[in-house]
Symmetry: C2
């Protein structure tokens, strides 16, 4: 098979999720940098890959598509190695539910409204404390739901690593760098999972350089 | 198996998507009405099912969860009958991509910003023509991408019906009732698919009563 290509920046949580899927298989891939900070996501070359101007986009053997939820499910189906989708229907529902909660609620509250305002205010012309304050209840609810859905399992969707773990860890990486980091400590099971995730070689290998 | 329960209103596109999955299997289910218009989605009883206050939520044999993307994948995995997930990896990627595009972009542009303002202004304290106008380019882009991703296949993700078809049809049902309906006609392949979908008995059986 041809080497698959992920287009995107290592800074993006969603790009990191796709990279984590390959690292956990494990399988080879190429990362082609498309910078958010330098506006390359809105360049004609990138809009041809994804007219919504987001990352990651993906290419494999001439097949091109975007949307992280589709990319990681494709990686899991096509590459041999570690299976990242639970066979058990309830665990699989937990995995898919966590992915949807991140796409629908948590990415917006935690990344767009807390992390970007705290760590990357230059991207949005300056931080707005009111935006951060308004996002905190929603961020807390997301974390509470992740903890509840996880329950007593070792990972977020049962006792095996799944795509849900790879979806959430890159988001918490950034939350942990903000003054809102203590929100995570309110949930013992989720906090223990998070400690464990940070020890994985896949996680260490994909850590963004913040410079 | 116990009869599964969908909590939600027949008016919701996401509730209809979950109902369509059962109708296409086919399999029995119960619909317990939780009204958006009467504010029941924010009642304590419903917030206990889903603290984000959205529909549908789902219950099966004591297992309760929410998020449509998770519910329909669970239905497809657990119930026998018609398979609604393509085996081919590229078709499956198309299906998952369309589901993500609807969750991330199309539901917001088409339902929240066009349909609600056009058809249900009482829900938001009155329609805002500027919101509708600003949403149209994004709605057009979504439709263009659905048409492109579909390509020459009979359905949105290949030649068999999939969860993607059940995700998009309820959204277009409402768009077709607005003055923006002609946007759909700009895409011949998508428009032909849409005509075909409206003939399915599952579609007719789940049509909301608009009164």
């Amino acid at each position: 098979m041809a080497t698959p290509i992920i287009y995107g920046t290592e800074m993006s949580t969603y790009v990191r999720t796709a990279r984590l899927a390959f690292e956990e298989k494990p399988a080879q891939y190429e990362l082609v940098d498309v910078s958010v900070v330098r506006g390359e996501v809105k360049s004609p070359a990138h809009l041809a890959r994804n007219p919504f101007g987001t990352v990651p986009t993906f290419e494999h053997d001439g097949f091109k598509f975007y949307e992280t939820g589709a990319i990681i499910r494709y990686i899991d189906q096509v590459w041999p190695g570690t299976t990242l989708t639970p066979e058990d229907a309830r665990d699989r529902a937990r995995m898919n539910q966590i992915i949807s909660i991140i796409d629908y609620y948590a990415y917006d509250a935690i990344i767009r409204r807390i992390v970007v305002h705290r760590l990357l205010p230059q991207l949005i012309g300056g931080a707005d404390p009111a935006v951060i304050a308004a996002a905190i209840p929603r961020a807390k609810l997301c974390l509470a739901e992740f903890d509840r859905i996880k329950g007593g399992g070792k990972f977020l969707a049962g006792d095996q690593l799944s795509l849900a773990d790879l979806y959430l860890a890159p988001v918490l990486f950034y939350l942990a760098l903000t003054p809102e980091a203590p929100l995570l400590a309110e949930h013992a099971r989720l906090a223990a999972w998070w400690e464990m995730m940070q020890q994985r070689s896949s996680y260490k290998k994909t850590q963004p350089r913040l410079s």
